[in-house]
């Protein structure tokens, strides 16, 4: 077994570490405070090639491996979870449907600007009435006048409402066939008549991530806005987004590493009863547990990434990585606040920001309950 990064992967991780330490860490907290997506940072990351990580060079990306993507997110997420969340949503669900199902014309038109980092990508799946139950989506697309008319509402959609956003790829029902409902996904650019959105919603964390409701009211798009085969099975389509689970696992690793580092530093500095609190086993055991669990989650995640890179099935492993790492992140963030005591409870402290950012990791990209279902099914249940 070889757990080392290739030279390219290590170069990318170092680039991300430098940029995260020098640009994201100092600038992102203000964006979090203002609850605005820091698109200035995302544009700069685009120029560095980071927004095209999983897209081949031929389409404007850098053709990075999934392992390199995980290593990069580990670095970005240590500095700021909102920026890392926006980046991963862009790279995975925002770009993958175009890469995997787009025609060359569609890739040239929409994927290349995404991969080159000139615009920000979004994908619309969740609806007010359909989250885990993806088959229950009510947004409909009907054929009309040589194109499609889309009607419906999408909820909790990231990256669609910023000044860098180009629009959104949305999943809609296209009809009903012999084997149940059929689905298709459509590229809908901003400023398309009938496409509007609500205000940025306020979450417990990820305050720098732009998340909104999107409304489609008789939105007509021509035929060339449909991605792939309209009769493609939903399951087959969603499987292409499974890398999103690996990327949420990577975000979880980065959050856990961040709170572990903060806790180690604070425990060494904070003195009570005449000595640093890191002298007390009560604190040491928390830190040792956090570090041990982080290693376990890290290698689950990297193995899922490796399976994807080597063309092997990774459904179960990605679900396991996402489940384990996101649970750990939430638990570790809570312990980290505990170690910091009153200081950690204050919203101005970095550890409190990570605490707020941790809960969503158990919810987004498939709730942890859905990850359990996926794993149980893979076990033959």
């Amino acid at each position: 077994m070889d757990f080392s990064l290739t030279a390219e992967e290590a170069d990318l991780a170092e680039l991300c570490r430098n940029f995260a330490d020098r640009e994201i860490a100092p600038r992102a907290p203000a964006a979090w405070e203002r609850a605005e997506c820091p698109t200035d940072l995302l544009r700069e990351m685009g120029e560095l090639g980071l927004l095209g990580m999983l897209v081949p060079e031929g389409w404007g990306g850098i053709g990075m491996s999934t392992i390199g993507f995980v290593a990069a997110l580990e670095q970005i997420g240590r500095a700021d979870q909102s920026v890392a969340a926006a980046l991963q949503a862009h790279v995975t669900i925002g770009s993958m449907p175009l890469l995997l199902f787009g025609t060359d014309e569609q890739r040239e038109r929409w994927l290349r600007p995404l991969a080159e980092g000139r615009v920000l990508g979004a994908f619309g799946l969740t609806e007010p009435g359909a989250g885990s139950d993806t088959r229950g989506i009510a947004t409909r697309a009907e054929r009309r006048d040589g194109g499609w008319v889309v009607n419906g509402t999408k909820a909790f959609i990231s990256n669609a409402g910023t000044d860098m956003s180009f629009g959104v790829t949305v999943l809609a029902r296209t009809g009903t066939g012999d084997r149940g409902p059929r689905f298709g996904s459509f590229v809908i650019e901003k400023d398309t008549p009938g496409f509007t959105m609500g205000p940025k919603v306020r979450g417990i964390g990820w305050k720098g991530l732009d998340t909104r409701e999107l409304y489609f009211d008789d939105v007509w798009v021509p035929d060339d806005h449909l991605l792939g085969d309209p009769d493609l099975g939903l399951g087959q389509f969603l499987r292409t987004l499974e890398v999103g689970r690996i990327s949420i696992a990577a975000l979880s690793l980065s959050l856990t590493q961040a709170v572990l580092d903060l806790s180690l530093a604070y425990a060494a500095e904070r003195r009570q009863f005449g000595r640093p609190i890191s002298d007390f086993q009560a604190i040491q055991f928390k830190l040792a547990d956090m570090a041990t669990e982080l290693e376990a989650a890290r290698w689950l995640t990297y193995r899922a990434a490796w399976l994807r890179d080597t063309g092997q099935p990774f459904l179960k492993e990605a679900a396991m990585a996402k489940l384990k790492a996101s649970r750990l992140a939430a638990a570790a963030a809570s312990e980290a606040v505990q170690i910091h005591g009153g200081v950690g409870y204050m919203l101005d402290s970095p550890v409190a920001r990570f605490y707020c950012d941790s809960k969503v990791l158990e919810i987004g990209e498939g709730t942890n309950e859905i990850q359990h279902v996926v794993i149980a099914r893979a076990l033959g249940c």
């Binding site: 390219e8 170069d11 090639g49």
Partner: protein, 258 residues
């Protein structure tokens, strides 16, 4: 327009540095990085040449070290000339200038030589002017803005009171201050491309410089002793008994700052 940029590769300031007790100079045998103060010259050069010229790096470093050069190549420089020779160990500023001037002669046609005002490890702050003297070129120092107009370079030269506007015929040697431009981060594609950009590695013999005139042997200076800087003494604490403001005013006027 082609520009040569002198860059120094230095020990990472983030790591604890160490002095070699024998040579009484900074240990430079590990991985070296691009001196941040040189990144401004590299960026300035890249902006000045745009798409109509090349930026060539010139550096002197032990053990054929190229890590720092690769960073500047990743930013966009086209190629590099590196002088590395055991006989250079202990070289003083003037020898360094002579070596870099000879290396600049191997860098092809150029219109302008840029350098940082001073390195972040040695701080002699004289090498750019010495290079100009060796090459017989005009020298402009402390540039906080640089532009080229035909055969002349226009420089805003930082002074204590403000800045001077200096015009100088090309070719010339200009030293830039930190902040002359904002250095770019190398992109991932830049980092990949830098791996295959040419680095011409030269020894002293390639430059026609005798080993006897370089390193310790050729140095016009000798480091007699290196000692740790004195610990900073504790400051004076003035308890406010109602007269603290007067004592502070006295303290500041003794320093002649008010």
């Amino acid at each position: 327009m082609n520009i040569v940029v002198c860059v120094k590769q230095i020990p990472d300031p983030a790591d604890p540095g160490a002095l070699d007790p024998e040579s009484k100079t900074l240990k430079r045998d590990g991985k070296l990085i691009l001196d941040e103060s040189d990144s401004y010259g590299v960026e300035m050069a890249l902006q000045l040449v745009g798409d109509s010229g090349e930026v060539t790096l010139v550096s002197m470093a032990p053990n054929g070290e190229v890590s720092g050069l690769r960073t500047a190549l990743a930013m966009g420089a086209a190629k590099a000339v590196l002088v590395s020779d055991d006989a250079l160990k202990g070289s003083d500023a003037l020898t360094t200038a002579k070596v870099l001037a000879a290396a600049i002669g191997k860098a092809g046609e150029y219109d302008l030589v840029l350098a940082a005002t001073e390195s972040s490890d040695g701080y002699t702050g004289v090498v750019p002017e010495q290079i100009a003297a060796v090459l017989g070129l005009p020298s402009v120092t402390f540039a906080k803005a640089v532009s080229v107009d035909g055969g002349t370079v226009k420089v805003d030269r930082q002074t204590e009171a403000g800045y001077d506007e200096v015009t100088c015929p090309l070719p010339a040697v200009v030293s830039v201050t930190a902040g002359v431009v904002e250095p770019r981060y190398p992109s991932f594609k830049g980092i990949m491309a830098a791996k295959s950009k040419p680095v011409d590695q030269l020894a002293l013999a390639d430059l026609g410089i005798e080993a006897a005139n370089a390193g310790w042997a050729g140095a016009g200076q000798e480091i007699v002793e290196v000692a740790a800087a004195a610990q900073r003494e504790a400051g004076e604490i003035i308890e406010d008994d109602g007269e603290a403001h007067a004592k502070i005013v006295d303290f500041l006027s003794n320093l002649k700052v008010i």
